[in-house]
């Protein structure tokens, strides 16, 4: 059996070497320093057509990461809302949440993506007839335009004060927790922490002056100026991935909450704990232990699903690197190795982060 596998691998390697020889394929990673010569529609770092293939890789990687993080966050929020909705004592809410899960989960993600991109975003009116929200956010067939904050003088000091307040609040929190563990008495730590976070920046802003303005997109001529333009491909990917991911996360949340034995809740109520305390101190911590591992799996799934970007031309790692760069350089071996290794490493990173947090909240066995 082992010999068979080893034989197959050796056969493939020999063939690959022969093919590389025959087709005169260039090898090595020096292509990364050569200029790429094409533009990318969404870039989070400075990038021009003369930038190297290495910067193409970084731009595409950042696009994949930002999509995964944004869609993951939205999917988590929506998933928790729907998952808890399925457990609602209001049966109408539970039924609607269940219907959402059953509909969204059983339709291919690619089809949902096509729907949002080709049927919703593309037929939108051109910039001149944009759909506006309070005249600050605009949506049209070229994308979503949102305002960006512009920091004036004095902002640095305020941010510094905010940072110091945060550090102080964390210190107070830790000390209060230790005090409570040691003596069993509570401090009004919550209020103190809120004050510590809010007071210094407000005071500094009051004394020092503060200027923060918004760069609002404005229609000039045929397009918008100012603010930041989010390409429609990103919007479609985010909407589709969040809605699809939410349907899976909702089921995970529901299973997690249902896994907490009813006796735990009853015991807490019998001890005289108030309902709010029962939820925050008894149900949520135990449910989280069940929820977290599969939730991490969902984030990895979301990362992998983000590569569907290739179908609607969102410039992510798969499309730009394993597609465009591969075709331009004609070095499939190196490009594929880099792409696949990156996806594997990102997946491992998510798994490691979840494991780290999981260990923190895991039950401590005596």
């Amino acid at each position: 059996m082992l010999l068979l596998i080893a034989g197959a691998v050796a056969f493939a390697v020999v063939n690959t070497l022969a093919n590389i020889e025959r087709l005169n394929i260039r090898t090595g990673f020096e292509f990364l320093t050569r200029p790429a010569g094409f533009d990318i529609a969404q870039r989070l770092i400075p990038y021009t057509e003369r930038s190297s293939y290495l910067s193409v890789f970084v731009v595409a990687l950042l696009n994949t990461i930002v999509l995964t993080v944004v869609a993951g966050t939205l999917a988590t929020i929506l998933g928790f809302v729907i998952g808890l909705g399925r457990l609602s004592s209001n049966r109408l809410v539970a039924a609607v949440a269940a219907a959402y899960v059953e509909v969204v989960r059983n339709v291919p993600l690619l089809l949902q993506l096509f729907y949002w991109y080709f049927a919703v975003l593309r037929p939108l009116p051109p910039p001149r007839q944009s759909l506006g929200l309070f005249d600050v956010v605009f949506l049209n067939n070229r994308g979503l335009y949102v305002p960006t904050p512009v920091f004036g003088p004095g902002v640095t000091a305020v941010l510094l004060a905010l940072l110091m307040g945060l550090v102080g609040a964390v210190v107070v929190g830790v000390v209060a927790h230790r005090h409570r563990v040691r003596t069993g008495r509570r401090w009004p730590a919550g209020w103190l922490m809120c004050g510590l976070v809010l007071a210094p920046p407000v005071a500094v802003a009051f004394v020092n002056g503060f200027s923060l303005s918004w760069d609002v997109p404005v229609l000039t001529g045929f397009n918008f100026r100012g603010g930041v333009a989010i390409i429609p491909e990103f919007v479609a990917m985010t909407v589709a991935l969040s809605l699809y991911g939410a349907s899976y996360i909702a089921e995970i949340v529901r299973a997690g909450v249902q896994a907490v034995p009813l006796g735990q809740k009853e015991a807490a109520l019998a001890l005289g704990m108030r309902n709010r305390l029962v939820v925050t101190k008894i149900v949520v911590p135990q449910a989280l232990r069940v929820i977290l591992p599969p939730l991490g799996g969902q984030y990895i799934q979301l990362l992998k699903n983000s590569s569907l970007a290739a179908a609607i031309a969102y410039p992510d790692l798969m499309l730009i690197f394993a597609g465009t760069v591969l075709n331009q350089t004609g070095q499939p071996l190196e490009v594929m190795i880099i792409t696949m290794a990156t996806y594997l490493l990102l997946g491992l990173a998510i798994a490691a982060a979840v494991n780290l947090y999981n260990r923190r909240i895991a039950r401590v066995e005596r």
């Binding site: 059996m1 082992l2 596998i5 493939a12 063939n15 690959t16 022969a18 093919n19 590389i20 025959r22 609602s88 004592s89 209001n90 049966r91 109408l92 809410v93 609607v96 059953e102 509909v103 989960r105 059983n106 339709v107 291919p108 993600l109 690619l110 089809l111 096509f114 729907y115 080709f118 049927a119 037929p123 990895i300 990362l303 992998k304 699903n305 983000s306 590569s307 569907l308 290739a310 179908a311 798969m318 394993a322 597609g323 591969l326 499939p332 071996l333 594929m336 792409t339 696949m340 996806y343 594997l344 997946g347 491992l348």
Partner: protein
């Protein structure tokens, strides 16, 4: 606590009606039990009123159901079912030559008949039907679809398409990946560290990659791996990618089932003098199958949904045929064509996937009920 799977002795109609009324009143009461619930009910009702009636109006009432060409739909802002009707053959068979489409019908019909027979509880001869579906059926279906022998004209895979292609890919992936996944899962538990580590590495590697990446890999890299001059069919490359990816997924499903078997079961089998093969086939695997069947069906649902992805490498599956139809100049009459097409595709996939997941849930329930009664 004790719940039996058997239906309750039928109550007289009066009692039934009373039960229905009490369920309905409990439902209504739950909607207004607290001020928060009442507010939520109002919000949800408002949401439903804002979405459902317009959707029904668009998709059913105002929709254009009959017509001979795209002109029937022009200028109406409602579903254009004429598009689906006129393109139905395309959607189902893709570019498969029209005189040969009966072959797809036969292969598909046999598959449906076999699966239905397997799903009916208490059907006699299930074992033989199952073996026939796993052994001779795929070979016969492949011969039928590919052709080139027994006087059947050959149909190159470049002409395969439509929903039939999705079903072929899904069937291939399920039939090849389940045994491969089982072997990988068993290999992962092997006592030989080399085998165990090799299997674990294989599983984790393929599971960690996106399916699109594996398809790209199959399309771009496969020609490098085979001897010069050997040309491997594009569909076959995609099928291999599906097998490998899903074998790793199934291996994880089986791993869960294998871990759930208590060690005592192995020891009992060994103490009876059973060798590895007989211990596995007679004692362990029957129990594993019982615990993992819902997981297997869920993976099958995922596979069916994933088959749409082959459009990225240029195969004419369901969505690709649909997209091509929407881009046809004859149908460039408005957004309603596109929306109708997507709605139709969603309904087809939803019906298939929802049916499978319901069956899986039913199976889980009925088996756990059987366990409890024992």
């Amino acid at each position: 606590m004790m719940k039996t799977a058997r239906p309750r002795p039928s109550a007289e109609p009066g009692r039934k009606a009373a039960a229905l009324v009490s369920t309905a009143s409990a439902f209504l009461k739950s909607c207004v039990s607290t001020p928060l619930n009442a507010a939520l009910t109002i919000a949800v009702l408002w949401l439903l009123a804002a979405t459902v009636p317009p959707l029904v109006e668009w998709a059913v009432i105002d929709a254009v159901w009959w017509g001979q060409s795209s002109r029937a739909c022009a200028g109406t802002d409602a579903a254009c079912w004429v598009f689906v009707g006129l393109r139905f053959d395309q959607i189902l068979y893709g570019p498969y030559p029209a005189p040969e489409r009966w072959r797809i019908d036969v292969a598909l019909g046999a598959a449906v008949a076999g699966i239905v027979a397997l799903l009916i509880p208490g059907m006699p001869g299930k074992k033989y039907i199952g073996l026939a579906m796993l052994g001779p059926y795929p070979v016969l279906a492949a011969v039928l679809l590919v052709g080139g022998v027994f006087g059947l004209p050959s149909v190159p895979t470049a002409q395969w398409g439509g929903l039939a292609l999705n079903l072929v890919v899904a069937a291939w992936a399920i039939v090849t990946a389940i045994p491969a996944g089982l072997l990988l899962a068993l290999g992962r538990r092997s006592k030989l560290p080399v085998v165990a580590n090799a299997c674990a590495a294989f599983i984790e590697f393929w599971r960690g990659l996106p399916l699109i990446g594996i398809l790209f890999l199959a399309v771009v890299m496969f020609p490098l791996f085979v001897p010069p001059g050997v040309e491997v069919d594009k569909l076959l490359r995609a099928l291999i990618a599906f097998s490998v990816f899903n074998a790793a997924n199934f291996a994880e499903v089986f791993r869960g089932g294998l871990q759930a078997i208590p060690r005592g079961q192995y020891e009992a089998a060994q103490s009876l003098g059973l060798g590895y093969g007989r211990m596995m086939t007679l004692v362990i695997l029957p129990q594993v199958v019982r615990t993992v069947l819902p997981g297997i069906l869920n993976t099958c649902v995922a596979i069916l949904k994933e088959t749409t992805i082959v459009l990225v490498i240029g195969l004419f599956e369901f969505l690709a045929v649909l997209q091509a139809g929407m881009a046809d100049p004859e149908w460039l009459i408005g957004d309603q064509v596109r929306e109708t097409g997507y709605l139709f595709a969603a309904l087809v996939f939803w019906a298939l996937c929802f049916g499978m997941s319901r069956y899986s849930a039913w199976l889980e329930r009925s088996w756990s009920a059987g366990q409890r009664r024992a």
